[in-house]
């Protein structure tokens, strides 16, 4: 059984990696397409039908481009930066539960790479390491704009991690577990007599609002894209990067977006649970596959939301960013935490 488990996990890891990279790849196309649509343009449509080969063309272009490492740059760290950023972006997907277990006859296959009991904290740990990729890359470039971008990125990520953590603690309090699978499974119960609709968003709307704002900040997406704003910093931490190393930086941003969409869908919108999931009387495998489809739909909806916001809202000023993070979101998150605790105590005593 040991080899079977190993094979299961191997297949799962490879497919999760493939799916993350594939979705990130097509997010780049979607971003360009959606940006065009939001601005009354057509968007890329030359490479393939509706431009579906555009990501491939972009990838080939990035690989073919000349590789430039600045003379004054620190070579080892210069290469380590984007690699680290990409690795940490991909590592997070290990704890995300993709669907209910598949029934393979003699055994069941869990659609989650690993169910550690501190899954949520693991995500936080990996995200907090992700900032090193930017910092090292920005510092090693030996360029003041890159350094400014790196400093902005790190201070922004540290600031918003706090509020994000507080908003998640409320979820942990409701669920009573830090494992992501437990959090998602707890949302499969009935609400208003409909199974699979007991989503945390109905209990934690404020928490979700804080979480999504922080997720935007953690992904360096507009309106929080100060680390790489073109106007002031000429691209920020990746000013000096070219070729595929630049590609890794840009690409990891989309992987991050995918992962944080998955986190939002899993933590607040029921993950792979969908309404009427138990009333339909589906077999275990059908439930699993439909669950995966539901989860993916939610994730894609969030990715669309990310892009929608990006092409709607202008960038914050830096002092506004810090004001929002420290003086608005953190007090709000703490208030949310206290209110959640109060309601839970009240419900328990009744």
């Amino acid at each position: 059984m040991e080899t079977a488990l190993f094979l299961d996990k191997l297949i799962l890891v490879v497919s999760v990696f493939g799916a993350s990279l594939g979705i990130a790849m097509y997010s780049t196309l979607a971003e360009r397409k959606f940006a065009a649509f939001f601005q009354d343009r057509l968007g890329p449509n030359r490479a393939g039908l509706f431009g579906i080969l555009q990501p491939v063309a972009d990838g080939v272009k990035l690989f073919m481009k000349e590789e430039i490492i600045p003379a004054q740059a620190n070579k080892f760290l210069f290469i380590l930066g984007p690699s680290l950023f990409m690795i940490t972006a991909l590592m997070t997907s290990a704890v995300i539960p993709w669907s209910t277990p598949l029934d393979l006859g003699d055994r069941t296959m869990e659609l989650q790479v690993t169910d550690i009991n501190i899954g949520l904290l693991y995500v936080f740990g990996v995200v907090s390491i992700g900032v090193y990729g930017i910092m090292i890359g920005g510092w090693a470039s030996n360029n003041k704009y890159s350094l400014m971008g790196a400093l902005r990125a790190s201070s922004q990520m540290i600031s918003y991690e706090l509020a994000m953590g507080f908003s998640i603690i409320a979820i942990i309090m409701i669920t009573g577990s830090m494992g992501l699978k437990d959090v998602v499974n707890a949302q499969s119960t009935e609400l208003f007599g409909i199974s699979g609709l007991n989503w945390n968003i109905f209990y934690q709307p404020l928490g979700f609002l804080i979480f999504i704002i922080c997720a935007f900040a953690e992904c360096n997406r507009t309106p929080f894209d100060l680390p790489e704003c073109e106007a002031e910093l000429v691209g920020g931490y990746h000013t000096e990067y070219s070729s595929m190393k630049l590609g890794l930086f840009l690409f990891a941003e989309y992987v991050n977006m995918f992962i944080s969409s998955a986190m939002m869908a899993g933590l607040y919108f029921g993950g792979y649970n969908f309404p009427f999931m138990y009333e339909l009387g589906l077999s275990q495998n059908a439930l699993s596959i439909l669950g995966l489809v539901a989860f993916m739909t939610k994730i894609l909806a969030f990715i669309f939301f990310f892009m929608w916001i990006r092409w709607t809202i202008p960038r914050f000023r830096y002092d506004q960013l810090m004001h929002l993070g420290w003086k608005v979101l953190i007090p709000l998150a703490i208030m949310n935490l206290i209110a959640t605790g109060g309601v839970m105590t009240f419900m328990a005593s009744k």
């Binding site: 959606f34 939001f38 009354d40 929608w308 916001i309 092409w311 709607t312 809202i313």
Partner: protein
Amino acid sequence: MSGITLTNRKKVLEKKKLSFSESLYLPAIFGGMLITLKHFFMKKATISYPDVKRPFSKVYRGKHVLKRDDQGRENCTACGLCAVSCPAEAITIVADERKKGEEHLYREEKYASVYEINMLRCIFCGLCEEACPKDAIYLTEDLTPANFTRQDFIYGKDKLVQPLNESCHPKTNQPYIKDGKPYEYKNPVYTK
């Protein structure tokens, strides 16, 4: 200041403190998102250019063409009226006399051996077209493309004269009519 303003549309911007609902920003953000979503489904303002082209206005004035008549002979008789009328002085003409055996090439007894238009000087006003007594020069819907050297912007007869196998009217793009039906154009035989 004596109270003179350059425009009567001046607005004084008042910096008011934001109300509570404004300071939440969220209503404004959702309003903005609604606007962008509306544009998402709107008809697109752009087209896929080389595949689809926008129709030009009927009075558009682009690159010049030196017309041939229905037998493929150049209309121009090198009278120089176009060069005189040109406000930008962009046209240079060298006249020459038609020799025997060239009747199938030039309609009149005099023709322009050199006809150059400097496209950097030309302002595409169309006065040459109006001045021409022989119906020889027209401004078409073609664009004059960008180039690398100034020399390449001086268009000679090689670029201006209508190609031989093209038998339609340069302005209307309709075929020549002869005896009530479209004229079938035959390339003239050059003998020297």
